[in-house]
């Protein structure tokens, strides 16, 4: 069963902004990245999936249910982590997550236990008994995640989970999300504007641009190898190492071009690897990098957006 399905999903607001336009997408379980949708599009989609907003036209299904007709059932199975600040400041994390667990339908003792476990899984230990007002951004993000997790949802909706975190905090959060998606067996929809994050942890991707679907595919399909080898050799100030290697390869009939500090060589056959190795060895060059270039998600956004002019408020 698909995790999330939409068909020609459209939402037009009274002030003329079209947040979503004919969005048709089929998302399989796993860790899904939602990129490119900023502002109106993203929060609109989340509200529709939670059954809090009616679309102008089209349909959506979450875990096989219609959010408009079965909103309560959907919301019982989904955990939501908003982007914005949403935590009270004068209660402890432990109290708050327990309270939220009860509102999600857990009996009192279970709520307490699962809240405690959720806080442990997100990495909050003795801090959990202090008031949330004194927490750092990283800790607050974890509390938001814990309250989404406590009632054992089948799907987590995480909106910019690494917002406001410094690099170490971001790393920790991404690792946690990956654990949730793989070890815990919970599907996750991650909204992010940082493509590097998405490429790191997601198994599939939905890219939205101007309210329309740009691409929806698995990550491996999107970042497949391109048949081009990238080679970096160090210039040590004496020799233009890249030029020397380029010359060596060209002499042997290879197709070589330069891209900044990299040499790009077409991978016409396997012997290219050996020629590069031999060229570096013979010319006594420092081989710093050798890899097959992969397509990146960012390439999706380099081409012009579909129907860019037609949209009010497009980039």
């Amino acid at each position: 069963m698909a995790l999330i399905e939409t068909q020609l999903l459209t939402k037009r607001y009274a002030n003329g902004v079209t947040a979503l336009a004919d969005l048709t997408v089929d998302v399989e379980p796993g860790i899904v990245g939602l990129v490119g949708a900023n502002g109106a599009g993203k929060s609109t989609l989340i509200k529709i999936l939670l059954g809090l907003l009616a679309p102008s036209s089209g349909q959506a299904r979450v875990l096989g249910l219609d959010p408009m007709a079965d909103g309560f059932k959907v919301r019982a199975l989904v955990g939501y982590m908003p982007e914005h600040d949403c935590l009270p400041t004068d209660v402890s994390a432990s109290e708050f997550v327990t309270h939220m667990g009860r509102i999600s339908g857990l009996p009192a003792t279970t709520a307490r236990e699962r809240a405690s476990e959720a806080l442990r899984h997100v990495g909050l230990y003795e801090e959990r008994y202090r008031q949330i007002g004194g927490y750092s951004t990283g800790m607050k993000q974890r509390v938001k995640l814990a309250q989404a997790l406590a009632h054992d949802p089948r799907l987590l909706l995480l909106d910019e989970p690494t917002n406001g975190l410094d690099p170490a905090g971001r790393d920790a959060m991404l690792t946690l999300i990956q654990r949730i998606g793989t070890e815990f067996g919970i599907s996750v929809l991650v909204c992010s504007h940082l493509l590097g994050e998405v490429e790191r942890i997601c198994t599939s991707l939905v890219a939205i641009d101007g309210g329309r679907l740009l691409r929806s595919a698995t990550l491996s399909a999107m970042t497949e190898a391109s048949g081009v080898l990238a080679v970096e050799v160090d210039d040590d100030g004496v020799v233009d190492a890249s030029a020397a290697l380029a010359g060596y390869l060209t002499e042997r009939g290879r197709d070589v071009r330069r891209d900044g500090r990299q040499l790009l060589v077409n991978l016409t056959d396997e012997s290219v690897y050996d020629e590069i190795r031999d060229g570096a060895a013979e010319l006594d060059l420092a081989l710093h990098r050798l890899e097959q270039r992969r397509h990146g998600v960012v390439e999706l956004f380099r081409s012009p957006a579909p129907d860019e002019e037609a949209h009010h408020g497009a980039a």
């Binding site: 410094d166 690099p167 504007h193 060895a281 081989l287 050798l290 890899e291 999706l300 956004f301």
Partner: protein, 303 residues
């Protein structure tokens, strides 16, 4: 001359030392000002922009002090982190007002040029409140550029932008840098900095931890072995051959690849192809795995 030069600059508020004895020079091109939250990036930018006086030391832009010196604003443009444009104005009106405030001889022409730079041609006569985040940012950049300053300061310019908007903004900044401007932008999102500029100034807890190209900075960290992930036609044979090399501190083998810790970067990178050729092993992948800005940054913050 369009440099930004700080000499022994410090800034404190009571017991809080926001910036501690920073000496740096930033020349033409794009430089990233990097640091964890609260490291002092915004304070530094505000000192450069003349909003704050250094408690000690000097801050000069294009040869003049930036504090209490209205003339410096002819050389300087600043785009702050907080959005503060009036929604009811159009981009044209906003940029034109900025041009007039700068008392330019031909404000309309300057405004047109600035809006052309940021490619807000079609939308400039709509009200700003209808704009997307990216367009608003570009409007503010245009207003900061209208007087054609040699130096442009941007505080977290990519905050909340979606990928397409970010690409546009990066292209814009690259173009301006290529034309000889000095551009300094601050960010705590390494992915953005890496894509935009290899040149960084890293601040940690108010101190300048490192300057320059981050790859070169990595190589300067000689006490940390460089980590490479290598795939070859015979990883185990390569691993044992590498262990015999003096420049290799350790190897680790798993199903997918061979991880090498090289204590001497220069010697190792030369030894590797030669050794592989001698042993008849095909190298399929050589990836430096800790020279990314993320790794360099975490090493700097940790030390």
């Amino acid at each position: 001359m369009s440099d930004i030069a700080l000499t022994g600059a410090s800034r404190w508020y009571g017991n809080v030392v926001a910036v501690n004895d920073v000496t740096m020079t930033i020349g033409p091109g794009v430089t990233g000002l990097l640091g964890p939250n609260g490291a002092g990036k915004t304070t530094l930018l505000h000192m450069m922009a003349g909003f704050l006086a250094p408690s000690r030391g000097t801050v000069h832009v294009s040869g003049q002090p930036s504090w209490r010196n209205p003339d410096v604003y002819r050389e300087l443009g600043l785009v702050t982190e907080k959005e503060n444009v009036h929604g009811f104005l159009t981009a044209w009106e906003f940029v034109l007002a900025s041009a007039k405030l700068h008392r330019l001889p031909d404000p309309a022409a300057a405004a047109r040029r600035a809006l052309g730079h940021v490619e807000l041609g079609d939308a400039q006569h709509r009200r700003i409140e209808t704009y997307s985040k990216g367009m608003r940012q570009r409007t503010r950049v245009a207003a900061a550029l209208v007087h054609d300053p040699a130096v442009l300061l941007l505080d977290e310019p990519f905050n909340g932008m979606d990928p397409r908007q970010r690409l546009h903004m990066m292209d814009l900044l690259h173009r301006m840098a290529g034309a000889g401007r000095t551009i300094l932008f601050s960010s705590h999102i390494l992915e953005e900095v890496e894509q935009l500029s290899g040149t960084v100034q890293v601040v940690v807890a108010g101190r300048l931890a490192a300057s320059g190209d981050y790859r070169k900075i990595r190589q300067l960290m000689t006490n940390r072995p460089h980590v490479f992930v290598i795939r070859s036609s015979d990883d185990r044979k390569l691993a044992s051959a590498l262990m015999a090399e003096v420049s290799v501190a350790g190897v680790e083998l798993d199903k997918t690849a061979l991880t090498v810790r090289a204590s001497d970067y220069g010697i190792f990178t030369r030894a590797l192809p030669a050794l592989a050729r001698k042993e008849g092993i095909r190298l399929v992948q050589v990836l430096p795995s800790d020279e990314s800005l993320e790794s360099v940054f975490s090493y700097l913050v940790a030390s």
